[in-house]
């Protein structure tokens, strides 16, 4: 199976069109690249429609990545919109004892996710406060960084100007990154 091909880290991001799932994958890949790793990001190649479920993928490795197929057995699943949770196939995630990171302010009953490390963060409230819009892509990447340590804060910040052009947007995204990162670090459960 693909998990044995390489010491790979595989990430799937679920969002809705307009939430920036593809940008989140790009940010993770760029940050990993600046951390000195090999990385790759790509969308699920859908027709872009606002609100429609979209997926984006990421691979991170110490070795060169040649795979061009989609990710079927993720180590991490990031969910930008919790209403997508029932649609996400978590079977492969539980077999690998993977991690699920969900944007929600509500309690998640983790007994429904046997074998999965379920983590949640209220990214929307921070996004609404700083952007005045429910765009949680950078927030959820910050949560991913804080919870898993797969990418560094420094590299995320370094990547921002490559993704966003306007100075004020870059600054706001950095504020979101820092706020969520420290929130998640503080509340990171000992489990």
């Amino acid at each position: 199976m693909s998990g044995k091909l390489n010491p790979l880290r595989k990430i799937v991001i679920h969002g809705r069109g307009g939430q920036g799932a593809v940008t989140a994958a790009e940010l993770i890949a760029k940050a990993a690249f600046y951390d000195g790793k090999e990385s790759q990001a790509f969308p699920s190649f859908g027709v872009e429609r606002r609100g429609a479920p979209v997926q984006a993928f990421c691979r991170i490795s110490k070795e060169k990545i040649t795979l061009k197929s989609q990710v079927y057995e993720p180590d991490y699943v990031i969910i930008l919109d919790s209403t997508l949770l029932p649609l996400v196939d978590i079977k492969n995630l539980s077999e690998k004892k993977g991690t699920l990171i969900v944007n929600t302010a509500n309690y998640i009953d983790s007994s429904k996710f046997t074998g999965i490390n379920v983590l949640s963060v209220d990214a929307s409230s921070v996004a609404l406060e700083i952007f005045r819009a429910d765009i949680v892509n950078t927030a959820m990447v910050a949560a991913f960084s804080a919870f898993t340590g797969e990418i560094s804060m420094q590299s995320m910040i370094k990547a921002l100007p490559e993704i966003f052009e306007r100075k004020d947007i870059i600054e706001k995204n950095q504020s979101v990154l820092e706020r969520i990162y420290s929130n998640c670090k503080e509340c990171k459960p000992g489990k």
Partner: protein, 378 residues
């Protein structure tokens, strides 16, 4: 400088480094990121080129032909229905021997309508007199775009070049790419010096009628130029390696683990990357698997493929296209040059169907167990 960028961005930056003066364009999914990036490179003052917004792909290629006739370097990009709409003018570009370079973000052809990747669009144009490269990575897309001008503009070639990039599956992938310096590109690719060009002070006639007594002679000259381009492609690939420490097989075919292989995949494009990972894994399990990656589909590198295939017991050709009624396009050409071999045709990855690790493993199993079969992986 090494950066993590989208393949479409890499292609646009490669085009910029080659200093084209005219870029006629018409947007179409999944190619649009390439021309969007070029438009911003021009508007940001990084590229001094005239972008012509045409009303169709037919007009975009016609404008490219006009600009090339005026003696300047030209770049454009398209995909799918857009390439199909160019069909008529593609033959005019090659017949008039204009060294136009075009990126194609490969996508299926309607109907049914589908915006996703397969290679049917450029395969349908394989007899249009364009050199055709199929690339595997963002880096190769960038490097091949640069090499394409040097090949196309060679006086012994003078043929247009198509760089075929799997739409979405490669065009929308972000990967680390080593971006060459402008100075190094200027050394590698000198300013374009056209032989003949449209010039009001020195009027010449371009594209006159050829009667039955001369027409075939023109076609034969084109075919001979294709033949000569084999060595020139190899030379440019070696020169590129000298200048940038990277190359792709001999420029035509890139073999992977083929020396002692018993079974091999023959394939084109991004799926070859997935095949590499499968070969690495199966080699550890003692399977003597390898790959012949066809980078250049036109001219078809017969001798190079025959020599690489010599020791093989079985072959699976991966066709991301279907020559309806005749099998996959790559298969029919491979079988024609290897009539004695066990060559199986695998039709897969059509209309955006992902080519998975399991598909590649299945293809190797077919090469081992079957004999000259045709199989669809749906």
């Amino acid at each position: 400088m090494r950066k993590l960028i989208e393949t479409s961005d890499a292609v646009a930056q490669a085009a910029m480094l080659c200093r084209p003066l005219v870029i006629p364009m018409y947007p179409i999914t999944p190619q649009t990121h390439i021309v969007e990036k070029l438009a911003s490179l021009i508007s940001d003052g990084n590229l001094d080129a005239e972008m012509i917004h045409t009303e169709s792909e037919h007009s975009a290629m016609s404008a490219a032909i006009g600009a090339s006739a005026a003696g300047v370097r030209v770049f454009t990009a398209t995909a799918s229905q857009g390439l199909a709409l160019m069909h008529e003018v593609l033959f005019i570009a090659s017949g008039m021997r204009f060294p136009i370079v075009m990126a194609v973000a490969n996508r299926s052809l309607s109907a049914p309508i589908n915006i996703w990747n397969d290679q049917q669009d450029s395969i349908a144009e394989r007899d249009s007199g364009w050199i055709q490269f199929y690339v595997e990575t963002a880096q190769e897309a960038m490097d091949t775009t640069i090499m394409a001008y040097k090949i196309a503009e060679n006086k012994d070639v003078l043929l247009p070049v198509m760089i075929c990039i799997d739409g979405f599956t490669l065009s929308h992938v972000f990967e680390p790419v080593d971006i060459p310096e402008q100075k190094a590109i200027d050394r590698f690719l000198p300013k374009y010096e056209p032989g003949d060009k449209l010039d009001v002070k020195n009027p010449k006639s371009f594209g006159p009628i050829a009667f039955p007594d001369t027409f075939a002679g023109f076609r034969k000259m084109q075919d001979e130029a294709m033949g000569r381009s084999i060595d020139i492609i190899k030379n440019v690939n070696s020169e590129f390696k000298k200048a940038f420490s990277r190359s792709y097989g001999d420029g035509l075919v890139e073999n992977y683990m083929i020396e002692d292989a018993e079974y091999a995949i023959v394939a084109m494009g991004s799926a070859c990357g997935t095949a590499r990972a499968v070969i690495d894994e199966m080699r550890k399990k003692g399977k003597k698997y390898g790959m012949i990656r066809i980078k250049c589909m036109r001219p078809f590198p017969r001798e190079e493929i025959i020599s690489a295939a010599k020791p093989l017991k079985g072959i699976a050709v991966l066709d991301r296209n279907i020559g309806l009624g005749a099998g996959g396009a790559l298969f029919t050409e491979i079988k024609a040059i290897l009539p004695e071999k066990n060559v199986n045709d695998i039709i897969l990855g059509l209309g955006g169907k992902d080519i998975t690790i399991e598909d590649i493993k299945k293809s190797f199993e077919i090469a081992e167990k079957e004999n000259s079969s045709t199989q669809w992986l749906l």
